[in-house]
């Protein structure tokens, strides 16, 4: 193709993309087709990938395809191993894409489809993708070292410690909120509870199969597991209609929360081969399969988006979580736009497989583009629902009232009409007793997915699709829960090992049990409070998680910016500096409001005072009064955690700036730790076959 044709094609992509984004942004009052979202996303991604990412790789990072990567230099046939780029891409994407990009956009849809969509698109191409790619690059140049290690080596001890503490706390909050999402999906739903419980013995069976029956036969074992999972979705429907069995699986939130904690403890103590590894295989297949299916269904079906572009809730009065559009849309959607957690995968894990530096663009930048696309699809699935239905599912009883008639009256009064019969019909179609106040995002996403799948592949199986979607979300939420608890345990063992070396032995059972129990108690506490909170808990935990995740992103971007400056690339430091600045602004604003806002639904302290006053005056109903002291304590704790996060963030940003200023002034700084150049010996065809 000659260059004129090429330029013409890119010009067309640009025009189409601009038209699609403009159409989405300017559309008012009429239903807009979901295909516009897909078109806008694909055009923005294509342009960003072709021009911005390529420019960063060539001019700023100067990736060098003749330079041997750690995978080649340190090849040991196991964790370090040059691998085919598509395989690395698959591993990287499977590792970074969790439930975050599905839940965040669903919650943020309360502002309307537009704010979240724009942030997902532009936050990803200018922020998240750049973070992932640059982190992958600097770790590749440093023998695949982890983010915490690089922060320590390049900026100083403070940065390294902050990264470690940040990772640990974010893990605790993340697991708690994800646990809450699963609990809310299983609450009084025998079908969902059975299906989710069935994933555990199925995973164990797969684990035993690949460990002992046919060692190493991963594909065979996974196939058996996937078939059993699909059967369990069907079996759940049968349990649900069986009067004697359904009672076994019909539980309130609190016993379910304790079951999740017990499961988390067991999973962290059990050997990985029994539960964690096989469950991860299954969840990865389900994840990739379902996401592909969703994309195909949206393209085939082209559903209309019924949510308005912008709702009145941008003023901070939203029923799902309190807080104005700025900064809370940017906090609520972390994964999908920019996620600090990715930096932990992009450093340490993925570089060990990378066979050539030139693949950094595709894997780092491209992997995050695909995650952003998942977030766009979650946004579509949330906004194709009638807004009234969407708010009825996602608003907690504490906001709209526990009675169905009250709830629909209140939601309809906002201008989003919905009726009790409509909700009852929908619940019956989905095989659920009720869909009111099913907060957490999973049920509404599942309803959205079921209605999309239902119309693409047959209306008659709506309940099956709904429970398939719930199972699909639950299975990889539980994988994150297992893996997170385990990582937390390792970190804690490592820290305690400094005090008493015996505690640091990862195979010493007393230490394993003790540290696992501490980690589970950490997230279990927040999960417990989330369950007893009449306002649903998600409205408190999710922003806290968002702030923590953005803080971790700020740490990664600080390390990247510091390294760029030290490498004499000060004039290009804006590529990571600008997203960093934006994150510092939104995280600080959000933290400030969460601490000091007078609005009881936003400010932790205001909320605690309000509750304390009501308790003193005796105006709380009996059940709420019983929980109030715990909630008041928790709100103070949350305020403390927020303050801690924000101090950590500023500390590391200042440390980075101090180092940069010293460098610019010609004073000594910690030296660059880039490993020396070695010419690659790998020929293209040697890799991966």
């Amino acid at each position: 193709m000659n260059s004129i044709t090429k330029n013409a094609i890119w010009l067309l992509v640009a025009i189409l993309g601009a038209a699609a984004v403009g159409g989405i942004a300017l559309n008012r009052g009429e239903h807009i087709n979901a295909l516009w979202f897909i078109t806008a996303a694909l055009c923005v991604y294509a342009l960003a990938y072709r021009f911005y990412a390529a420019w960063i790789a060539a001019t700023v990072l100067m990736v060098d395809d003749t330079r041997a990567t750690p995978a080649e230099r340190l090849d040991n046939g196991r964790d370090f191993m040059p691998t085919n780029k598509w395989v690395v891409f698959g591993h990287h994407f499977a590792a970074i894409a969790g439930p975050g990009p599905l839940v965040g956009p669903t919650l943020a849809a309360q502002f309307g489809y537009l704010p979240g969509t724009l942030w997902i698109l532009f936050g990803a191409v200018l922020g998240g993708c750049v973070q992932d790619m640059v982190t992958l690059f600097i770790s590749t140049r440093r023998d695949a070292r982890s983010l915490g290690q690089m922060a320590r080596d390049e900026i100083g001890r403070i940065g390294g410690t902050a990264a470690l503490i940040g990772t640990f706390t974010i893990m605790i909050i993340l697991i708690a909120v994800l646990g809450l999402v699963v609990v809310n999906a299983m609450k009084h739903s025998p079908w969902a509870t059975f299906t989710v419980s069935a994933t555990i013995p199925i995973a164990m069976l797969v684990g035993i199969y690949m460990r002992f029956l046919r060692p190493g036969c991963v594909l065979e074992a996974s196939l058996i597991g996937v078939v059993l999972l699909l059967l369990s979705v069907g079996a759940g429907g049968w349990i649900d209609t069986n009067p004697s069995l359904r009672g076994w699986f019909d539980h309130d939130s609190l016993p379910l929360a304790f079951a999740v904690m017990a499961y988390g403890l067991a999973a962290a103590i059990f050997p990985v081969w029994l539960l964690l590894a096989p469950r991860d295989y299954l969840s990865t297949y389900m994840k990739l399969g379902t996401i592909t299916l969703l994309a195909v269904a949206i393209i085939l079906l082209r559903p209309d988006v019924k949510m308005p572009a912008i709702t009145p809730f941008i003023d901070g009065t939203g029923p799902i979580f309190g807080g104005k559009l700025f900064p809370f849309v940017f906090i609520t959607i972390a994964c999908g736009a920019i996620s600090g957690f990715h930096a932990l995968i992009a450093s340490g894990t993925t570089p060990k497989l990378l066979s050539n530096e030139r693949d950094i663009v595709m894997i780092g930048y491209g992997g995050m583009l695909l995650e952003s696309f998942v977030a766009i699809m979650a946004m579509v699935a949330a906004t194709v629902l009638d807004p009234g239905v969407f708010f009825a599912i996602n608003s907690s009883a504490g906001i709209v009232g526990a009675d169905a008639a009250d709830a629909v009256a209140k939601i309809s009064s906002w201008g989003y009409p919905v009726t009790v019969e409509q909700m009852q019909n929908l619940a019956r179609q989905m095989g659920e007793a009720t869909l009111f106040a099913r907060t957490g995002g999973a049920p509404s996403l599942a309803v959205g997915m079921a209605s999309i799948f239902g119309s693409a592949f047959g209306e008659s199986m709506l309940a099956l699709w709904y429970h398939f979607a719930i199972m699909f979300e639950a299975i990889f939420i539980l994988t994150t829960l297992d893996a997170g608890t385990r990582v937390g345990r390792f970190m804690l063992q490592d820290m305690l090992g400094n005090i008493w070396p015996k505690m640091g032995e990862t195979s010493w059972l007393p230490s394993v049990v003790l540290t696992s129990a501490i980690v589970v108690m950490g997230w279990g506490y927040f999960l417990y409070i989330g369950v007893i909170d009449p306002n649903g808990g998600v409205n408190i935990l999710w922003p806290l998680f968002g702030i923590a995740n953005q803080m971790l992103a700020a740490i990664a971007l600080s390390v990247a910016t510091g390294i760029l400056v030290k490498s004499g690339k000060l004039r290009f430091a804006w590529i990571t500096g600008t997203p960093l600045l934006w994150l510092v602004i939104i995280t600080s604003t959000a933290a400030w409001q969460k601490l000091f806002s007078d609005d009881v639904r936003i400010g932790f302290l205001a909320g605690a005072n309000d509750l304390a006053n009501k308790l003193a005056l005796g105006t709380l109903p009996v059940d709420k009064a019983a929980a109030a002291p715990k909630l008041i304590f928790n709100l103070h704790l949350d305020a403390g955690i927020t303050l801690f996060f924000i101090c950590l963030l500023w500390l590391i940003v200042f440390d980075m700036l101090r180092m940069c200023m010293r460098y610019v002034a010609g004073k000594p700084v910690l030296p660059l730790t880039e490993s020396p150049y070695v010419l690659t010996q790998l020929a293209e065809e040697q890799v991966g076959h």
């Binding site: 196991r78 969790g98 975050g100 982890s146 990772t167 957690f341 995968i345």
Partner: protein, 65 residues
Amino acid sequence: MHVKIKAVWQTVRQLSGDDAYERYLQHYAQYHQRHAEGACHPALTKADFFKQWQDEKWTGVKRCC
């Protein structure tokens, strides 16, 4: 066509780790014997290799949110 299907199948196997042992054996044949002339430890059996491989795969942060 046949070649293409085979390549896709290879990628699937590699993605899932189904062929990890075969790749280990290749690596072993290429590096260990050539350098150590038999003084090196013998290659692991499939079951032993898989145990080590699985345990290594799960240390550190492997999954995200």
